[in-house]
């Protein structure tokens, strides 16, 4: 019997309950940090802390939100502890799955997503996280408020402001695409 088997609580294993959210945590970490290395670190740290708490008997009713809360707290600790050394990875270097689009469609999409990526990194981290949790992860304002430990009104305000910035970026992109055609 392995060591980790011994300390596994009854019920679902850690893998069954939490590791299925790996992609969710990673892709949010990637946009939040703007760096692949930092995203790797942040993701691993999140799951390490979650695993430690899980094996110590933490009771978790909403695994996804719980993981995001750990991730958000870890991100804040990392950001305030050390001077920022991270170089944001260029959008072109971000990992991407293969697609079946035409080259022209790929170019248009990448231009749009490049602006989106930049708009995200340019905005305050709190806005970025609120928007990612809402649009990418499909969490409710209440859930996001729990993760970010702020009132729902603050979540609403952050999402409003973040989307205003994203709209502006996409509008600029649309103008550029139109002039190219």
């Amino acid at each position: 019997m392995g060591l980790f088997d011994v300390i596994k609580p009854k019920g679902q294993s850690f893998e069954e309950k939490f590791l299925l959210y790996l992609n969710d945590i990673y892709r949010t970490a990637l946009r939040l940090t703007g760096s692949r290395d930092e995203a790797d670190d942040l993701t691993q740290e999140t799951f390490f802390k979650a695993y430690k708490a899980f094996t110590e008997g933490a009771s978790v009713s909403a695994p996804k939100a719980w993981l995001f809360k750990i991730m958000r707290n870890s991100f804040i600790n990392r950001r305030t502890s050390l001077a920022a050394r991270t170089e944001h990875v260029p959008f072109e270097d971000l990992p991407e799955q293969a697609s079946h689009e035409t080259p022209e469609d790929v170019m248009i999409r990448k231009t749009l997503e490049g602006r989106l990526h930049t708009a995200l990194l340019d905005m305050p981290a709190e806005y970025r996280l609120a928007l990612l949790l809402c649009d990418s992860e499909g969490l409710s304002y209440d859930e996001i408020a729990g993760i970010m430990q702020c009132p729902v009104g603050t979540v609403r305000s952050r999402i409003n402001r973040a989307r205003t910035l994203v709209r502006a970026a996409l509008r600029e992109n649309a103008d550029k695409v139109d002039t190219k055609r």
């Binding site: 011994v6 992609n23 740290e45 600790n77 050390l82 991407e96 989106l116 990612l132 649009d135 709209r167």
Partner: protein, 240 residues
């Protein structure tokens, strides 16, 4: 009384996020049907939401991360493949982010399971986040004349950041055997890279297969620290 665009504008984000009650939802729907300006804003917001969602849906965690975390929950060897930056030959005590250290096998108070060497090596790898390689751990064991049967135990590990003379540094804080604590300080200045124990005594530098390791004796145990890719690792070997 017609609802103003200003009022509707404040509700559009909540509308597309499904956060409005039915009454307000109907209010917005009715307004945008009649107002081209608000309808255009709604389209832009919906596009922004959809574009972000689509962009994120194409991102997947790298394979090595999946393997590493799967290894954390399974007690089997071999460990996950290393990323290429594990192979860098340079070890410097430069600035390090707060990250996961390595290799602690926690004791439960009333359970002392028999742990095979295979599980220990896996635990070493699995618990680190950034895994120490099997070869490094094996090198350490071989250097000190230990074999895989030696128990490696610590209880509790934290990493703290602190500022020393204007430089960022780390404290690797390990609690060993519940009643003994070891603090290993890692200074950020490359010129002062030897970690010190809690008494301020520098750990001794040893060369194991052309890499720098720092060794100290503590509470009858041997502590071995090293740094890789800017992150500290530690192994505690019990007395044979």
């Amino acid at each position: 009384m017609p609802t103003s665009c200003k009022r509707i504008g404040t509700l559009l984000n909540q509308y597309i996020d499904g956060e409005l009650n039915p009454a307000k939802r109907m209010l917005v729907a009715r307004h945008v049907k009649a107002c081209t300006r608000c309808a255009a804003v709604l389209d832009e917001l919906s596009l922004a939401k959809a574009a972000l969602r689509a962009m994120q849906s194409r991102v997947e965690a790298p394979a090595f991360l999946k393997e590493a975390l799967a290894g954390m929950t399974a007690s089997r060897a071999p460990g996950p493949r290393r990323r290429r930056w594990f192979l860098t030959p340079e070890f410097s005590w430069g600035l390090a982010t707060v990250s996961i250290l390595t290799i602690l096998v926690g004791y439960l108070v009333f359970l002392k399971p028999e742990v095979s060497a295979c599980n220990l090596i896996t635990a070493i790898q699995a618990d680190s986040g950034r895994q120490a390689s099997v070869s490094e751990v094996s090198s350490i064991l071989a250097y000190f004349g230990r074999n895989e049967g030696d128990m490696i135990r610590t209880v509790g590990l934290t990493i703290q950041n602190y500022n020393c003379k204007g430089e960022d540094a780390l404290i690797l804080h390990m609690t060993v055997r519940k009643d003994k604590e070891l603090l290993v300080y890692s200074h950020g200045n490359p010129a002062d890279i030897e970690p010190r124990d809690s008494a301020g005594v520098r750990l001794k530098r040893v060369d194991i297969e052309r890499k720098d390791f720092y060794v100290g004796d503590f509470a009858g145990m041997k502590v071995v620290c090293w740094k890789m890719a800017g992150r500290p690792y530690a192994v505690v070997l019990s007395e044979a």
